[in-house]
């Protein structure tokens, strides 16, 4: 029975990911177990090479685990085909990248519309939702601009609007402030806090401990294993 309200948003049960590098077998994820409740804001932290990126790819359904079970919003997703994964990414995951990854030839509105195109939403409805999303991230007046005409912070807001466009189960942010200056980075984090208060489930992947402290909870990963999973006391200060 699928009940997204009662089930946790993310359930990782002994997830493994191994790569065959010739004779050597690399265990990028080695029995990772954790869960994320709906509406939770967690940070995944770890140095490069820790398995953090692999974990993010599996959470984001860009990759399938070699072993273990993964339930996303009450649905098993560990054994899906390429096309099924694409659909899950489309409707359940909202990606926010370090380098924004906007499509340079499209306007802000059109960028926000991209996931809606793949979901088969009609043109008029797409436009309506994209405008509403840009409004939500405070860019209502920049809809007709192309990424090159926007500042870094504005670009990241467009990317966040795009991630939100299909009301995803999880907002998955990979170093979202990594390409921004401190002040702009702070603004973007404020936007995440606002979205969190409005009920979004957020997974923030970072190597920056200060950034991670802003989440409800920090999961620390090293050598493909969770080494620490704790609630964050200081979060009220940032809310």
């Amino acid at each position: 029975m699928i009940d997204t309200m009662a089930d946790p948003m993310i359930v990782f049960d002994r997830i493994e990911k191994t790569y065959n590098m010739g004779a050597e077998i690399i265990r990028a994820l080695d029995g990772v177990t954790f869960s994320v409740e709906a509406g939770e804001f967690i940070a995944i932290i770890g140095p490069s090479g820790s398995g953090k990126s692999t974990l993010m790819n599996v959470v984001g359904c860009l990759d399938t685990p070699s072993g273990g079970a993964y339930r996303l919003a009450g649905e098993s997703v560990e054994n899906l085909s390429r096309d099924q994964l694409a659909e899950v990414r489309n409707t359940r995951i909202g990606f926010v990248f370090q380098t924004f990854n906007l499509l340079p030839r499209l306007t802000a509105i059109e960028n926000v519309e991209v996931p809606l195109v793949y979901a088969g939403v009609s043109r008029r409805e797409r436009r309506k939702r994209a405008v509403a999303m840009l409004e939500r991230v405070g860019l209502a007046d920049r809809g007709k601009h192309r990424p090159a005409e926007l500042s870094g912070g504005q670009r990241q807001r467009v990317a966040i609007a795009r991630a939100l466009s299909l009301d995803p189960a999880v907002l998955l942010a990979d170093e979202p402030t990594g390409a921004l200056d401190t002040a702009t980075g702070h603004d973007i984090m404020q936007l995440f806090h606002t979205l969190h208060r409005d009920g979004s489930t957020i997974v923030l992947v970072t190597h920056d401990p200060d950034l991670a402290e802003q989440a409800d909870r920090i999961i620390r990963i090293l050598d493909g294993r969770i080494t620490d999973d704790r609630k964050c006391a200081a979060k009220e200060a940032f809310a």
């Binding site: 790819n57 984001g60 860009l62 990759d63 390429r82 096309d83 694409a86 659909e87 990414r89 489309n90 409707t91 990606f95 990248f97 990854n101 499509l103 030839r105 991209v114 996931p115 195109v117 793949y118 979901a119 088969g120 009609s122 043109r123 795009r162 299909l166």
Partner: protein
Amino acid sequence: MTRQALLENTRMSIRSILSVPVRSILTGLGVMIGVGAVITLVALGNGAQKQVEAGLEALGANLLIVYSGEPRGTALVRTNTSNIRPTLTETDIEMIRALPPDLVRLVAPASTANAQLKYENRNIAATVIGTTVEYPDVRNFYPIYGEFFTEVDVESRRAVVVLGAQTYRDLFVAGQDPIGERVRINGIAFRVVGVMEEKGSTAQDSSVLIPISTFQRSVSGSSNYAMVNIQAASSDVMRELQAILERELLRLHRMPSIEAADFYIANQLDLLSTVQGVAGTFTMLLASIAAISLVVGGIGIMNIMLVSVTERTREIGVRMALGARGRDIMAQFLTEAVILSVGGGVIGVALGLGASWAAVEFLRTAAVATASSVGTAFGFSVVIGLFFGGYPAWRASRLDPIEALRYE
């Protein structure tokens, strides 16, 4: 893929094509030239065919010719039968003339011989055609000056002659009135009564025409005929008429089969279909050569699409992360390839039609662009876009989203 997605793909493709205009034009150029070449060359081929057909029709309407001698391969029109022993008799002609008018309209028996023509101090060799007054109507070949000889001339075996256009030029000074002048044929004096129109065929233009009766007495000495030109009542009865002629002539000549007979029948319809067959092959050959350039154009599109897929690896990764399935990516790049190819095709059609028009207008050649050649060339450009765009699009659709996102 939904209509929605198709529309969106088309919009996105047009946008990315327009974002690199020079490259897009160069990419489409191959297909442009290919389609243009197919249309132009097929038009020239069709034009040549139409010209030959018109030439055949100028031989005379619904024409059947019975020749003396054995069939010679593919039946062709032969004006000069001088080397053939004439085997068609007066009885044969009477039989043909007696056929009902709903089968036979006109009959013009004829014989030919090579002869020496002399006027004043000019001496030339020419083909002498002995025939009857029906000849101009049957062969669609009329005097342009003076008159053709008359029934009375034939009955009285008069020494009168009608000159072919070239023969006139060879014997007379330009502008000189030949009527009433005496031309010697093999030493016998003939009075010129007319000059025939220019036909464009050496055989007819370099000939002279005299009454058949005069020919039999003064030139050949034989009472047989080398050939009989017959105008059928209509094109519908030509096959029936040919069958009747074959049967009756075999009977009169007491011969068992047409293969062993001493005559054969050339049918204008057969000539036409032979010529059409040859012209069709010729046109196909031209079209095939042009089609090679279409294929080369397709390879150009494949090349650029492969480059484009590599350049846009990151875009593909982003789209996949946002929910594009393999088939969405495939459709996007296929649409782009097809639009490039079809765009080239449309311009190619315009180029081809323009070149065909120019060939008629400035080079005075016959060129007939047909809807089917335009349609085929255009259809090919769609197929080429799909075929040569297929591999790059497939490669794009198989990219790993993680790798693609990491691509710099």
